[in-house]
Point group: C2
Chain length 214, copies 2
Amino acid sequence: MEKRRGDRVAKLPTIRRLPRYLTVLRRLMSLGREVVSSSYLADELRVERIVAKKDLEITGITGRTGVGYVVADLIDAIEDFLGWNNTTEAFLVGVGNLGSALLGYEGFKSYGLDMIAAFDTDPSRIGRMVQGINVFSLDKLPDLAERMHIQMAVLTVPAESAQQVADLLVNSGIRGIWNFTTINLRVPEGVLVQREDLAAGLAELSVKMRRDHE
Amino acid sequence: MEKRRGDRVAKLPTIRRLPRYLTVLRRLMSLGREVVSSSYLADELRVERIVAKKDLEITGITGRTGVGYVVADLIDAIEDFLGWNNTTEAFLVGVGNLGSALLGYEGFKSYGLDMIAAFDTDPSRIGRMVQGINVFSLDKLPDLAERMHIQMAVLTVPAESAQQVADLLVNSGIRGIWNFTTINLRVPEGVLVQREDLAAGLAELSVKMRRDHE
């Protein structure tokens, strides 16, 4: 098995597909399967076999002809590539409907994301526990972020306050913002924003459905 | 102003950006602004001006040199293109954390999506109201879908039951599934699945943050 690091050249679609391989591989692992072929993985992800092979190469693992991939090794390699073998602690800001749901979403733990505290400005939410996580006043965030060395935040505040809260996050040393708001945040160089755009997905589905009807 | 329909040639990134133009335009409208330049829109969306111009051309509207776009016209054209001027009624299946949150997410209404009923198999959820929406037993879905001519469903069930529920949806006449589960659904030709993959977004952010640290 050849080991090769390709971090810097990984294409975005590949990176975005990796969690899906992980889901399939973990299921196989739980069923006691030790090896898996690239065609099986390709079929599960609905991609061409060559695409699956190229995707997985990026993690440094190549399958053996006629044998395939060792499931446990491939899981390790993908988790390692994504940095999901080490838990990343994050804050969540904005404990409304979407924020509360994300706090309770079990899936994130298996992606190495641990939301350890939540923040809000609404006095009726501060001091409560939501999904087992403490909700603090937003003005406590800078101090806690520094003391706990938190670098990632999930942003689920209303659109009106999104930029202001993002500024606070940046000034508190947050380096990565997972942005669930509809706002295009302005952040200084070196701060990463990943926008989760539910409306974009809906737009895609709407247009495709309309085309089918024409 | 030239009117031209480009439905069939619209590229995916363009389609996915349209809701963001809509957000900006609706804000301008609420501020009483009547016209807007392509550079303003490009700046708000963090894209090149030529990209914004090309994106918006797809809706059949072209801006006038030195004047720009008429805000109200552009809103109409984008909504028309996306089919969001007519409300699409949808069912939501799976009233867990994420499902409940989506039922309460105000944003969908402004995208023309109206979730009119929810379904679950958990007796403790059936018969209740969640976010003002009735939760019915899943076995009522086929009959209700037919009677109400529902064609779109939002799928927020656990991974284990995702495929089984998708089969039920397809057999009930659902033509578009907005899939929030981690499963790659198998559906017959003619049924559209839009996968909303939160893990993919997190993977992207994780890899970018790790790269920055290297």
